[in-house]
Amino acid sequence: MPITYTSGEQVEVYRFSIPVTVGVPLLALFLQAFVPLRFPRFAVYVDLPLLVTIFFAMARRSPVAGLFTGAVIGLAQDMLGHNPIGIYGIAKTVVGYGASSLGVKLDVENAGARFLVTLGFYLVHSAVYFTVARGMVNMTQTWSWPHGILAGLVNAFIGVFLYFLLDRFKQRT
């Protein structure tokens, strides 16, 4: 049973096997690319690679590992689109760093905390993406709070279930 105290010394740090470390992000990317062919709204409201980034970052509780996890997953997601590579990379790097830093300090093992953390980081991710896409790449972007909050809630809801599923792959250090 994982220890979930908020004290930094007592917070459990987990690691994952290599197949899980590689396979889960790849599966998330695959589903993100494939599911919208059948359910077009999926790509509008759900960001599975972001959820995986948040999960790994929070579980490892290492800011460096978290930011690199976010950078790799984000860059891979960029490669599937046609926009310049790095927009998702930057956004997910920030999220990975933030989630792991938060994981060190807070108890993020229960469903409520996970829900709120995911909602918050979805908005952070959207804000960074919006800034970079509009400021650097000159893409036409419109910020919509209703859409952001709705999509954040959807992701948080899915995230709670996904995290409990992925908890099975955790290994204690």
């Binding site: 690319a33 494939f34 077009p40 790509a43 599937l80 790097t93």
Partner: protein
């Protein structure tokens, strides 16, 4: 110093990683503005696509296989009704085809006069959609055909319903297709009725809008939008979509929203136009069949009558009017196949004698002016109804008369009345009327 580095180690690494990515992004944006072909980022995109596409192909294959087994062997409910409905649809389309053939040949003649160059779709490659970008900010899909299948950049991608997009990046066995709903896409468009030209663009929220139409122009919702051909990617006249909403836009332009003809959210199979041909328009005279003729041929016929007057001749140029199936004109006057006069009369409201008059050999033939009530064709007409095409005394007329192919009926076998097509249809047969 070491304590500072150690204390802010994580933050320094974060800034370093972000800096590298920003630098890479800046380089791409700068080169993108210089219209380079993204060769620098192509390799890593190949890796990403190569890692995911085998799984996508596998899933699509599995889906199709299971779907085919279900639909082809188990789920056949309603097939009879659908078959009947499709047959009726074919009937309607045949009639429509006749009308369109007339329009097309007329347009061709006019294009010839104006020395137009036409673009033809010479070759297409069918492909299956196997993936997407997974982001609503990058509206692209991946197809399972690539460089090895003859796909190249900037090729148009369509479905039977309309335009889908263009090929953006090509990999050995896959290709990335930019949808017309992406905000970076642009297609030359023309409104079908008003002939106003604009640019069809996607937007950040996935809507498709028609830009560059002045606000003082009248555009009605429901109007069809076609490709204008001005972008040199999409051939002219392909279906783009329908106007759904017209409002005031920026800078004296209208804001016209379009519903794409192709369902971009449910793409499965697409066609890639791999080869276009541009050639001078020629006024080749194709088969001319009236709707009345088709109807007449499909209706039951009366028994053949013996030829009573084999010497029935045309009045002017020697075209013998005893043909039963061959159209006696090269300019739109066609004989009424082997159908009875009554049915022809029903279909066409009046029966004209098939004796024809050639004003000039092979150029224009007009029907004799005598008209007969339904079912009262004179002997010569009766001959024309049944006899074999006793064609002609004038070889040039024979060579230039078009062929007509009888359409078999389901209900009753009829004598084959197909005349062979002309080996070399005349290029300038029809003078403009």
């Amino acid at each position: 110093m070491e304590s500072v580095l150690g204390r802010y180690r994580n933050l320094i690494i974060l800034v370093g990683v972000l800096f590298l990515q920003v630098l890479g992004l800046a380089v791409q944006v700068k080169r993108g503005n210089n219209n380079s072909e993204e060769k620098d980022t192509r390799l890593i995109r190949v890796w990403a696509v190569g890692a995911l596409s085998p799984f996508e192909r596998g899933i699509v294959w599995l889906q199709n296989s299971s779907g085919n087994i279900w639909h082809n062997y188990f789920y056949l409910r309603g097939v009879r009704a659908e078959n009947r409905q499709l047959k009726e649809q074919i009937e309607h389309m045949r009639l429509e085809q006749v009308r369109l053939t007339e329009d097309a040949s007329q347009a061709r003649r006019l294009q010839t006069l104006l020395a137009f160059k036409e673009q033809f779709i010479a070759k297409t490659v069918a492909a299956q959609v196997i993936g997407s970008s997974g982001s609503d900010l990058s509206r692209v899909v991946y197809i399972d055909k690539g460089k090895n299948d003859g796909i190249d950049r900037e090729m148009a991608v369509i479905t039977a319903d309309g335009i889908v997009g263009k090929v953006l990046l090509v990999y050995p066995n896959e290709a990335q297709v930019l949808l017309i709903s992406d905000q970076s896409s642009g297609v030359g468009a023309i409104l079908e009725n008003s002939r106003l030209q604009g640019v069809l663009r996607g937007s950040a929220n996935g809507e498709v809008v028609l830009e560059r139409i002045m606000s003082d122009e009248a555009v009605q919702p429901g109007e069809t939008v076609l490709t204008s051909g001005g972008d040199q990617i999409f051939p002219k006249g392909l279906h783009l979509g329908t106007v759904t909403k017209v409002g005031a836009g920026k800078d004296l332009f209208l804001n016209i929203k379009i519903r794409p003809a192709a369902d971009l959210s449910k793409l499965e199979e697409v066609l890639v136009l791999t080869e276009k041909q541009e050639r001078q328009a020629t006024a080749e005279d194709h088969v001319r069949v009236r709707a009345a003729d088709i109807l007449a041929q499909r209706l039951p016929s009366v028994p053949d009558k013996p030829v009573t007057d084999p010497n029935a001749k045309s009045s002017a140029s020697g075209v013998t009017a005893s043909s039963s199936s061959k159209p006696a004109s090269a300019a739109g006057t066609t004989a009424v196949g082997n159908a009875p006069a009554k049915t022809a009369a029903n279909a066409g409201s009046s029966i004209k004698s098939v004796s024809v008059t050639g004003t000039q050999a092979g150029t224009k033939l007009t029907p004799a002016t005598s008209q007969h009530p339904a079912g009262t064709l004179p002997a010569a007409s009766g001959t024309a109804r049944t006899a074999k095409p006793k064609t002609t005394t004038d070889s040039s007329t024979q060579a230039k008369s078009p062929s007509i192919q009888a359409i078999p009926t389901d209900s009753e076998p009829k004598p084959a009345v197909t005349t062979p097509p002309n080996p070399q249809p005349p290029a300038q047969e029809d003078s403009p009327q």
